[in-house]
C-alpha cells in the first residue's frame, strides 16, 4: 500500500500544479489530449505539439509523441483517466469512445472535437482543416492541407503510371490468429491505400475486416500479400505465413510477394499518406517505377 499511496500523493501534487498552471492561462486550448494516430501526427505537422499533454495508445508517431502520458485505447477511454490530466480540449478521431465516456467529458465542459475519418485525399485534407481550426491555426492548416493534397495527387499519378493500367491484386491481411486470416474488404483504410497505390483489392465480396475462408483466398488469387509490420515479434514470420494452407496456393506466396509496412504509416491516413502511397507502389511494382 505504501508505494501506491506515495504514488497517489505524488500524482495529486503533479495534478495540483497542473491545475494551477491551467488556471493562469485560459482561453486558447493549451492542454490538449490527442486521440488517434493521424490526429496526433497532424498536431505535430502543424508544430503545435507543445500544447499536447496526453495521447492515446495508437499515437506513436513521431517518436516524441510516445513520451506523452498514454490514456489508453481510443475506443475504451476511462472518463476519470482522461480528466485526470486536466485537459481543456480533446481532439479525437471519429469513433473514439465509449459513448458513456464522451458524455461525461462533454458534461465536464472539456472541448471535444471529433475529427471526421475518411480514407481519401479529401478526407485527409478535411482532418487537417478540422484540427487546424480547433487549434486556431487555420492558415497553417490550409497550407498543410494544400501541400498534402498535392503530394498525394502526385504520388497517386505516379503510382497509376507504374501500374500501367494492369493493377496487381493485393490481399490485405490484418491478422492471422490461429491460422484464420482476417482480410480487409471494401470500405476499409487498407482498400483505399491499395487503390491509391495503383493496386486492386483482391477482396471484393465483403466490406470491413472479416475472417476469410481458405477457398475464398485461393480463389481471390492475390498477387501480393500486404501486412502491417508491428515490429518486435508480434508479426507472423514469413515462413509461418507461407505455411498457412489458405496462403500456399496463391500467386503471392509462390512468388514470395509479401509486403510489410508500418501500420500507422500505411493505413493511418495522416499527413504522411503520400509517402505511404509511394512506398507501397514501389513495393508492388518495383523501385524507381
Amino acid at each position: 500500500m505504501s508505494v501506491l499511496s506515495r504514488l497517489y500523493l505524488g500524482l495529486n501534487l503533479v495534478i495540483a500544479a497542473a491545475f494551477a498552471g491551467h488556471m493562469a492561462l485560459a482561453d486558447p486550448a493549451t492542454r490538449i489530449v490527442s486521440v488517434g494516430g493521424s490526429v496526433t501526427e497532424i498536431v505535430y505537422a502543424l508544430d503545435q505539439q507543445h500544447r499536447l499533454i496526453a495521447r492515446d495508445t495508437t499515437s506513436v508517431f513521431p517518436a516524441e509523441a510516445r513520451q506523452l502520458p498514454d490514456i489508453g485505447y481510443q475506443r475504451a477511454l476511462a472518463p476519470e483517466g482522461v480528466l485526470s490530466v486536466a485537459p481543456d480540449m480533446i481532439l479525437a478521431i471519429e469513433g473514439a469512445g465509449p459513448p458513456e465516456t464522451l458524455d461525461v467529458l462533454r458534461a465536464a465542459e472539456v472541448d471535444y472535437i471529433s475529427v471526421p475519418e475518411d480514407f481519401s485525399a479529401e478526407g485527409i485534407a478535411r482532418k487537417i482543416r478540422t484540427v487546424g481550426a480547433a487549434l486556431g491555426r487555420q492558415d497553417a492548416a490550409e497550407a498543410l492541407a494544400g501541400q498534402v493534397s498535392a503530394e498525394i495527387a502526385a504520388a497517386q499519378a505516379a503510382a497509376a503510371k507504374a501500374a500501367g493500367g494492369a493493377p496487381r491484386t493485393v490481399l490485405f491481411v490484418l491478422s492471422t490468429q490461429g491460422g484464420r486470416i482476417m482480410a480487409g474488404g471494401a470500405d476499409t483504410a487498407a482498400d483505399s491505400i491499395i487503390r491509391l497505390a495503383g493496386g486492386a483489392n483482391a477482396v471484393t465480396g465483403f466490406a470491413g475486416y472479416k475472417p476469410m475462408g481458405d477457398e475464398a483466398i485461393a480463389q481471390a488469387a492475390p498477387e501480393v500479400i500486404l501486412m502491417m509490420d508491428r515490429g518486435g515479434d508480434h508479426g507472423i514470420r514469413t515462413e509461418d505465413l507461407l505455411a498457412i494452407p489458405a496462403i500456399q496456393p496463391t500467386p503471392a506466396a509462390q512468388n514470395g510477394a509479401i509486403v510489410r509496412m508500418n501500420g500507422l504509416h500505411l493505413i493511418g491516413f495522416g499527413p504522411r499518406t503520400a509517402s505511404a502511397i509511394t512506398e507501397l507502389n514501389q513495393a508492388l511494382y518495383g523501385g524507381g517505377g
Partner: protein, 358 residues
C-alpha cells in the same frame, strides 16, 4: 484480510459458528463502508473527497469538474461496483448450493458466457426488432437479453450435469466448457455480423470493466440485482437442506423443485444484470463463498449475506487497482479478478482432488 482470524482450527470449529458468522457480518459491513469511502476518495484525478466535503460543509459550491468527477464518475461507479460484486458473489454461492459443489461459478460453468452472448446479440440485432419493442425495452434490452441468456445456460447445464438429484462435478465442469465454447461461437458469429460502430460497443463491453459506469446503467441493473439479492436469503434453508441430497431435503419439508427453480431464476437475474452492465468479470463468485465457508462454515443463512458484502468489497478493491495501475489509462477489471482468482480456483481444485476426489 481479517478473515483468517475467525477460521476454525483443522480439528473442527470449537465454538458456535453462527456467532462467528454474525460477527463477521458486522466486520464485512464495516469493510464495505470503508472500501466505499476509499473508492469515492481515490481516482486518477486530483479531486479530493475531503476537499469537496469541506466545501459543502462550508456552504461553498463545488467546481463543475469536482461535481462531475464525484457524482457522475466515481459515485455511479461505486454503486455499480457494489451491485455487480454482490450479484456475482451471491450468484456463485447460490449456484454452488444448487449444484452441491464448491466449484460452480457463473463464469466457469458458462452462465456468464450465455449472458454475454445474449447481451451481444441484443446490441447487434436489437436494431432489427420492431420499433415498439425497442421503445418498450429501452435501456433494459441488453439486461433482459442477458437474463434470458444466463437462464437458458443454467437450465441446460443443470439438465446435463444433474441426474437423479446428484451432480457430477466432472460433468458439470465439462458441460460448462461446452456451453462456453458454444456461446463463444455464437459471439464470434455476432461479431462477424456487427458493423463497425457496433463492433466498438462489443470490444469495450467484452473487456469486463466498470469504466463505463453511468447512472443509466445503474438504473438498468439496480432493480434486477436488488430483487435477486432480496430473494436470495429466502433460499438459505432450502439450499442448506439440499446439501443433504434432493430426496433427504424433500423429507425435511423443503419444496425442492421450487427452491431449485427460484435459485436458477435468481442466479440468472443477478448474473445477467451484472454481465449486461460490466461484461465478463470472473472468479468473484468462486473466491468469495469459498473464503467465507473456510471462515464460518457453509450455512447459507450467513453465507449469502456475507458473500454479498465481501463480493462488493472485493470488486471495489479490484476496481481501484484497475483505475490506478496504469493511470491515466485503465486495466480492464476482468483481468485483475482473473489474475487473482484463477490460481485460487486451481488451489481448490487440487485440494479437492487430494482429499475426496471429484
Amino acid at each position: 484480510m481479517s478473515l483468517a482470524i475467525d477460521a476454525p482450527a483443522a480439528a473442527g470449529p470449537g465454538t458456535d459458528r453462527r456467532v462467528q458468522a454474525r460477527r463477521l457480518t458486522v466486520v464485512l459491513a464495516a469493510l464495505l463502508a470503508g472500501m466505499s469511502v476509499f473508492s469515492l476518495a481515490w481516482g486518477a484525478s486530483g479531486t479530493s473527497l475531503w476537499g469537496a466535503l469541506g466545501d459543502l460543509a462550508a456552504g461553498r459550491e463545488l467546481s463543475r469538474l469536482d461535481r462531475i468527477i464525484l457524482f457522475d464518475i466515481r459515485l455511479p461507479r461505486l454503486v455499480l461496483g457494489v451491485l455487480v460484486g454482490a450479484a456475482l458473489a451471491v450468484s456463485g454461492a447460490l449456484l454452488q448450493g444448487l449444484f452441491r459443489n464448491p466449484l460452480a461459478d457463473p463464469a466457469i460453468v458458462g452462465v456468464s458466457a450465455g449472458a454475454g452472448l445474449a447481451a451481444m446479440a441484443a446490441i447487434v440485432l436489437g436494431t432489427a426488432l420492431p420499433a415498439a419493442v425497442q421503445q418498450a425495452a429501452g435501456s433494459y434490452l441488453v439486461s433482459i437479453a442477458a437474463f434470458f441468456g444466463s437462464w437458458i445456460a443454467i437450465l441446460v447445464l443443470y439438465r446435463i450435469s444433474t441426474r437423479g438429484g446428484r451432480t457430477s462435478v466432472a460433468t458439470m465442469l465439462l458441460a460448462g466448457i461446452a456451453i462456453s465454447a458454444l456461446a463463444n461461437a455464437g459471439t464470434g458469429m455476432i461479431t462477424f455480423m456487427a458493423d463497425d460502430s457496433q463492433l466498438r460497443d462489443l470490444t469495450f463491453w467484452n473487456m469486463g470493466s466498470l469504466a463505463g459506469a453511468t447512472w443509466a446503467k445503474v438504473f438498468a441493473a439496480a432493480p434486477v440485482i436488488w430483487l435477486a439479492l432480496l430473494a436470495a436469503p429466502f433460499l438459505a434453508r432450502g439450499l442448506n437442506g439440499l446439501a443433504l441430497g434432493e430426496a433427504a431435503a424433500g423429507h425435511t419439508g423443503i419444496p425442492v423443485q421450487r427452491v431449485k427453480n427460484t435459485a436458477i431464476l435468481t442466479v440468472a437475474a443477478a448474473t445477467g444484470a451484472a454481465v449486461a452492465v460490466s461484461g465478463g468479470i470472473g472468479f468473484v463468485g468462486i473466491v468469495v463463498p469459498h473464503l467465507l465457508r473456510l471462515a464460518t462454515g457453509p450455512d447459507h443463512h450467513s453465507l449469502l449475506p456475507n458473500a454479498g458484502l465481501l463480493g462488493a468489497s472485493l470488486l471495489l478493491a479490484a476496481d481501484m487497482i484497475s483505475r490506478v495501475a496504469v493511470a491515466p489509462a485503465e486495466l480492464p477489471i476482468g483481468i485483475i479478478t482473473a489474475v487473482l482468482g484463477a490460481p485460487f480456483f486451481l488451489w481448490i481444485l487440487l485440494r479437492r482432488f487430494g482429499s475426496m476426489g471429484i
